[in-house]
Symmetry: D2
Subunit: 106 residues, 4 copies
Amino acid sequence: MIEQSLRDALRAFVAERDWAQFHTPENLSKSISIEAAELLECFQWNTDAKSERVQAELADVLTYCLLLADRLGVDPEQIVREKLEQTRTKYPVDKARGRSNKYDEF
Amino acid sequence: MIEQSLRDALRAFVAERDWAQFHTPENLSKSISIEAAELLECFQWNTDAKSERVQAELADVLTYCLLLADRLGVDPEQIVREKLEQTRTKYPVDKARGRSNKYDEF
Amino acid sequence: MIEQSLRDALRAFVAERDWAQFHTPENLSKSISIEAAELLECFQWNTDAKSERVQAELADVLTYCLLLADRLGVDPEQIVREKLEQTRTKYPVDKARGRSNKYDEF
Amino acid sequence: MIEQSLRDALRAFVAERDWAQFHTPENLSKSISIEAAELLECFQWNTDAKSERVQAELADVLTYCLLLADRLGVDPEQIVREKLEQTRTKYPVDKARGRSNKYDEF
């Protein structure tokens, strides 16, 4: 479960600025895509990138993910755990082992 | 801090399938963008979407975020907390309150 | 067919800067996603946006699309026309008329 | 200038299905991001991909770009040409030659 202190800090940050009005699930989803592209930009022309830059962009994606989870009323670690169970079934070890075509051609 | 049991479950999932070889920071960043777009697809033509679908797509984005954080050797909750401190300074309450133009025109 | 003068101008632009080496299909595809997100950013918190800003971001997406088409050796207008034929069959008028769920639930 | 026959074919396709109501600039921009991610998916775990798959996904991105250009009342080739002029000034040949850090660190 996400630490309560972090969830509370995020909620306070939004409330103090009266930003909940902008944080619809749709707008947060757009924001996740936008920040994900900034993360991708670290690798636009290269396969490596400065670690602190990647870390900062990843933090932005994660922040919007946590805000959306809170908006949906779900615990982020819990939904990851549940999805992991499903994926485990979908890609059994004996078939998936060492294959990169796991997602589209399985 | 992310729960150790979840981090361990993700690591085991990847290790059992021998997938670490595909999980470079670049490939994980591409994957985050790809999954973020599937989340956005829930809202392609509407502002509302079925909650369980949104939740499932959010879980996929989060999973790749946690895998990238682990790959970078950083704690996801910690980097969100650090970024929040910076954003707090960048958008002080008195200037940001109730304004949607916060990010691009501040 | 895309105007030859534009295709030539794009080729000259790339050649003069010796940038073809960076313009692999993968890098151009990443670039299209990155620029698409900048276009989306015009609508992050609103449904309307300044037309000239949208136009400038759209131009960036299109530029990388044309560069990728040229790299693949295909004419951009031709592949749009071909895809349109397929989509026409996939979404026949009598079933698709006025329905927004066209893409995911048909 | 985009061929009139193609522009007319796209317009007829939309009109016959009564889809103009869904094609707001915002929704088309979301659609461009979504299709761009499907293009990126061709390269999720590899640097190469089947050419016909890449071509089909590129066609989808382009289609939404042309629909957005038409909605904005601009000619797609014209805005690319204008942007190219600006980029030419921003990245002069003598400084940009053979450098991959062109976009973010110039």
